[in-house]
């Protein structure tokens, strides 16, 4: 049942929206269809095609709801749909999931609304669970979802797959939502572990779904590969006490080689097919790390080349910071330190604790311990995350030998 929920939700909802042309009604109908499945499947057995069963039931419920509501219908405009509204054959609607993904990640919606809508409507995660994952009161999350759905209806955001001209930009918005979901699950150390894993699981599910629906999009392959590599390393990122481990400290024997190989195939194919985008490049960097037998044997020159390209396609100061770590491994900490100081003058990362933390590490490697301790203190003051704080506090005044720096940012 949980399996059917996870695998079929988006398909069933997308198919039901075809009939209702209204996300709210569709969502309610699908929810009700699952409730009925919960009642009847244990008694009658799971149907051969659970998705088809759920779709048929959800659509029937939706039609009944529409009939009931006809007289007192609030004048909420219906979703715009180019085609006529007769019931299409179930097999035609597989790709409606794509429309669902694109409407949830529409740039006219606020980023946090996109993330919440995607979890609710594409992944079928219940509102209280979404609220818990983002450490927000349930009412706040419910209001956010309602507001987003109202905007979709009122502003007439169309339920369509974007035109080829708009696709690259719109796809990037979708990939960003998935990446964000993953990042929240990956770094939110304050949440319950289960909730966090749930988010990274969902992000991976979404990347796989998108890969099935858009097999020719290289950046989709890139994002999927990146998430696969993170998954391969998931269990080694913390020690038994929950302390964060750097790439240098992680037990590489426990990395999942099968997932890394899968990611590698995706990366190689994406790189061969044309100039790589930011997700493919990030995946390629993670891939080089994942292939190295040990931290010391990492091919830093290769990583630096990839970072040069990444900074070019995605000129973000965070990327420049990560690149500086690679520079320190190829050209030495003094050269990297000059780049870090450049970033400090730039000012955009003033509140980002990885900047002073990276600087501290370089200073330490240059033997300038007093300055390093100062930088660690600055970093400590900028993070609210308990695991990060413990890590940084341990660094202040520590002369623990560390062969390869902290490499705090682990792709």
């Amino acid at each position: 049942m949980a399996d059917a929920h996870r695998r079929e939700w988006a398909y069933v909802l997308a198919a039901t929206v075809r009939v209702t042309r209204d996300l709210d009604t569709a969502e309610e109908a699908v929810q009700e269809a699952y409730v009925r499945a919960l009642r009847t499947w244990p008694r009658d057995g799971v149907p051969d095609r659970p998705g088809a069963w759920l779709t048929t039931v959800a659509r029937r419920i939706a039609l009944n709801m529409a009939r009931d509501a006809q007289t007192l219908r609030t004048k909420l405009p219906l979703l715009l749909e180019p085609e006529a509204v007769e019931m299409p054959e179930i097999d035609d609607i597989v790709d409606d999931r794509l429309r669902l993904v694109f409407i949830c990640c529409h740039p006219a919606l606020a980023t946090e609304a996109r993330v919440a809508l995607t979890l609710r409507l594409v992944c079928g995660v219940a509102t209280p669970d979404i609220a818990r994952a983002f450490l927000l009161p349930e009412a706040t999350m419910a209001a956010r979802l309602t507001r987003a759905k109202k905007k979709i209806a009122a502003a007439r955001i169309p339920y369509v797959v974007p035109s080829p001209a708009d696709l690259p930009e719109r796809l990037d918005a979708v990939l960003t939502v998935i990446e964000l979901l993953h990042a929240v699950g990956h770094t939110a150390y304050s949440g319950e572990r289960l909730v966090r894993d749930e988010l990274t699981d969902r992000a991976l599910d979404l990347a796989r779904l998108l890969r099935d629906l858009l097999p020719r999009e290289r950046e989709v392959a890139g994002l999927l590969a990146l998430l696969l590599i993170h998954r391969a390393r998931r269990t080694t990122r913390t020690d038994a006490e929950g302390r964060l481990l750097t790439l240098a400290e992680q037990d590489r024997a426990r990395w999942d080689r099968g997932l890394i190989a899968e990611a590698d195939r995706l990366i190689v194919a994406a790189l061969r097919a044309g100039p790589p985008g930011r997700f493919t490049l990030q995946a390629a960097i993670a891939g080089v790390h994942a292939q190295a037998e040990s931290y010391a044997e990492t091919d830093w020159a290769q990583i630096l080349t990839l970072y040069d390209e990444l900074v070019r396609v995605w000129p973000s100061p965070v990327v420049a910071l990560n690149r500086a770590v690679a520079v320190s491994m190829v050209d030495g900490p003094a050269t990297a330190l000059a780049e870090i100081e450049e970033l400090e003058r730039d000012g955009r990362l003033a509140a980002y604790h990885y900047l002073p933390a990276t600087k501290a590490d370089l200073l330490r490697r240059l033997g300038r311990d007093a300055e390093a301790a100062d930088a660690y203190r600055t970093a400590l003051a900028l993070t609210a995350n308990a695991a990060e704080q413990a890590f940084l506090a341990g660094r202040i005044g520590s002369s623990r030998p560390d062969p390869g720096g902290d490499a705090r940012i682990d792709y």
């Binding site: 715009l80 529409h106 006219a108 009122a154 502003a155 007439r156 955001i157 169309p158 369509v160 974007p162 708009d166």
Partner: protein, 121 residues
């Protein structure tokens, strides 16, 4: 078709319209045509005089100037008919080529009131 208000915001200059290069004014005049070529329609449009000419009334109090004091002031608006938001945004991008900032908002109602007791449209 769906109706949207397209709000135009501009930084005000001391000379007002006189400060705008003639090519830009020309391009703004042609916006209507360019939108029509792409399947949209402007139903009505208006250009506002500068905010220092505005008078704000709240309750019984009357004050000089516009209600909203923003760096970019509301300079005009038009009513646009488009297929959906994606279409409206595509057309708004054309407007953004000749104006500073464009806000697109769905209309809840739009009517033109005629004089002398004629029918309302």
């Amino acid at each position: 078709m769906v109706q949207y208000a397209v709000l135009i915001f501009e930084r005000e200059t001391p000379g007002g319209l006189a400060d705008i290069p003639p090519e830009l004014t020309q391009a703004r005049f042609e916006l209507d045509q360019r939108i029509a070529e792409r399947g949209g329609r402007i139903l009505a449009g208006m250009a506002l005089d500068q905010t220092h000419t505005a008078t704000t009334v709240r309750g019984t109090a009357v004050t000089d100037g516009a209600f909203l004091e923003t760096k970019e002031a509301l300079a005009g608006l038009f009513v646009l008919e488009a297929r959906d938001l994606d279409h409206a945004l595509e057309l708004a991008r054309l407007a953004a080529q000749v104006h500073e900032i464009i806000e697109v908002r769905p209309l809840v109602g739009f009517e033109i009131v005629r004089r002398d007791g004629e029918d309302r449209s």
